[in-house]
Symmetry: C2
Subunit: 381 residues, 2 copies
Amino acid sequence: MKQTQFSSDFTLGILGGGQLGKMMLYTTRKWDIATYVMDKDDTAPAFQGCDVFFEGDIMQYEAVMEFGEQVDVLTIEIENVNVQALQDLEDKGIAVSPSAKVLNLIRNKARQKSFYQKQQIATAAFEVYPKPNLGHERSYPFIWKSAEGGYDGKGVKVIRQASDLTDLPQAECIYEDMIDFDLELAVIVARNYDGEMKTYPVVEMEFHPEANQVEYVICPARINMDISDRARELALKVSESFEHVGLLAVEMFLTKTGELLVNEVAPRPHNSGHYSIEGAITDQFEQHVRCVCNLPLGATESTVASVMVNLVGEEGHNGKVIYDGIEDILALPGVTPHIYGKKETRPFRKMGHVTVVASDVVEARELAEKVKGRIRVVAEV
Amino acid sequence: MKQTQFSSDFTLGILGGGQLGKMMLYTTRKWDIATYVMDKDDTAPAFQGCDVFFEGDIMQYEAVMEFGEQVDVLTIEIENVNVQALQDLEDKGIAVSPSAKVLNLIRNKARQKSFYQKQQIATAAFEVYPKPNLGHERSYPFIWKSAEGGYDGKGVKVIRQASDLTDLPQAECIYEDMIDFDLELAVIVARNYDGEMKTYPVVEMEFHPEANQVEYVICPARINMDISDRARELALKVSESFEHVGLLAVEMFLTKTGELLVNEVAPRPHNSGHYSIEGAITDQFEQHVRCVCNLPLGATESTVASVMVNLVGEEGHNGKVIYDGIEDILALPGVTPHIYGKKETRPFRKMGHVTVVASDVVEARELAEKVKGRIRVVAEV
C-alpha cells in the first residue's frame, strides 16, 4: 500500500453511508483523509462529511466496481455489499478490507460456524441444513438461524416445539444448541496489514428482553481477569484465523460453566465499541481507519468506565423523529448523546446512542438507567 | 430562544470556516444540528461537514446580514467579523453570541484593557495612545501593542529603546508594563444564556522562543491549588463582567510574586482548549455549541493529563504540505494528530495540532517533546 495516507493523492472509499460510516468520517475529517462514500440513499447519515458522495447500490456489481476503481483503500460499514466486485477490485490491486474471502465466510452463518469448527475455535454445537429440517433428532429448545440475511435479531428463532419450524423461510439454515449463558461478551480486535494486533477491553452486552437488540454495552465487563484474558486471546485467535485486516468485533457467550463460545463476528466497527469514542484512548472508528490504511495501531485502554445506551425508535411511533428529553440527559455529567441523523423513526430502528462515562462501572450503569428513563425517540404528532 | 435545537427546524450559523469552525462541526454532526458556515475561501477547513457552505466575506455587512437571517443561532470562530451586522441581527431577534457588545470591547485592546480597569479586573498597567507616542515617560523595556488587528504575536513588540518606536504603524496602540512572569496560564469559561457557568482546569502555555506562538499547552498547569482556584475565580469574573454567552478563553500571567493578571481573552473555542477533545469529559467545541444553543453545560473535568503540541509550518517551507513523520507519532501511545486540511504550508502557519494524553503530566510533557522532535510540517519539493 502507498504510504501516502496523509497526502492529497490518497483516497479512502467506504461502502455504505449509515451511522458507522458517519462515525468513521470523524477520523477522516480529523486527519484530512480524502474519503468517498457510496450509498443508495442520499439522506444517509454519512452523506455529510465525506469528500464525495456517490448515490449507488452497494449490492450492484457495476456500481461497486466503478466506485472502487476511484479509491486507494476500500472498506465497508455494512456486510451486505457485492462481494464479487470486492474480489475483482482486490485482483486489480485496490487494498480492500475486509477481504472478499472474509466477507464470504462471515456473511453466511453456516460457513462462518463451519470455519470455527475447522479452526478449533469454540462455538455452540450446530448442524447445517439446506432448509428447515422437520425430521431432526435434536431435543427442544434449540436455535434456528437463517444462514444469510439475519440482522439485529431477525433470522433467529428459539424452537421450542416441532410446530415452530413450520413457518420458517425455506432457505439454508443452522440448528444450534441453545446456550445457557451467564453473560454475552464482546471483544473488538484491531489488525493492520503488517499484522500488528490489539484488543479492546472485554465488554458486556445487556439485551432488551423483547426486541432482542443490545440495550446497554458495559465497559469493562463485570468479569474476573482470567475470563477477560481468555476472551481477548480467543478474539485474537479468531482475527488471526481470518487473516482479517480492520476491526473484528467478536461476540461470545460466557457459559454457566465458565466456557467461552464464539457466537458471531462483525468485520468492522460495531455497536459494542461505540463507548470508545468517549471511553477509550483510541476510538474504534479511528482504529479501523488506522487498520485499513496500514497505520500503526492506537492504544485501546480506557481511562474511564463507560456504558453505552442504544437509542431506538419507540414502539408505536412512525414518522418525523423527536428526541424527547434530550435536554434533560445533557444536564447529567458524563453523558454524550449521538444522533445519527435519520429523519424518520420506526419501532426499534437504531436512531442514535448515548455514552455515559463515570469513574466506576456501577455508577456508569446507574446513570445509564437514568438516561434510558428520560430520553424517548418518538414521532412528531 | 426556541428549545428545538434537535429538530430539523433549527439552524446554527458559524461565521468563519477555519480549524475552529471545523472542530465545532464535529459536535453538530454528532448531534445532527443543521449548521451553515460562511467563509470567503471554499477550501477552508470547515467547508466539509456543514450542511450548507456560503462563500462570502464575513467582514462585509451585506454578506453577514444575508447569512445571519437564515439561521436561528449565530456564532463565530474568529473575531474579525462585521460587528455592525451582528448588532443588527441581534436587534432582529437572532440569538448572536458572542454579542456585538462583547466583540466591540474585545477586538480593540485599548477598550478591552480599559474595561478590565473599570471592572477592577487585575491586568498589567498601561496607557492608550492614538498613535505611537515618542514623548512617553516610561522606562524601558515595555510592550507596544496595536489596539486592533493583532494576532499570534503580530501587532506586539518589546520596546527596549526609543528607536524601537519609530517604524511602528501610526494607529491606536497601548504601552503596557512588561510583566516578569513565572507562567502564562489560561482558563476557559463556559456560560450559556441561562447564566450557567463552568470553568475548565487551568492550563499552562509554553511559547516558542522565536515565533511567539504557543508551542505546548499543558493540562493541568503545574501550579498549586490556591493559584488554580484564584485563576478560575478570576476567569469567571471576566466572563460574568462581559455577560458573555459562549466560551471565553482567559489568558493570564502568573507573576513572580504570585499575582494573576489578565492578559487577553478570546470569546470562542481557543488553542488552549484543544487538548479537551481527547482530555476532557466535554470538549470545548461541544461546550461552545451547548452555550450558544442554551443547552445545559457538560462536565469540564479531565480524566487524563494532556499536552497539546501545535503543528506549524517549518521555516523556509512554502507550498503543498507534507506531514513528515506522522506515521512515527501515530505509533506512540496516547498520541492523536489533528490535521486542519490547509493545502499550503507557510512558515509558522497553524496547520494542525497533536494531543498527547498520559496518566501524569510529566509523562505527557516528555511524550510531547518526542512528538515535536519527530513530526515536521514541510513543503513538497
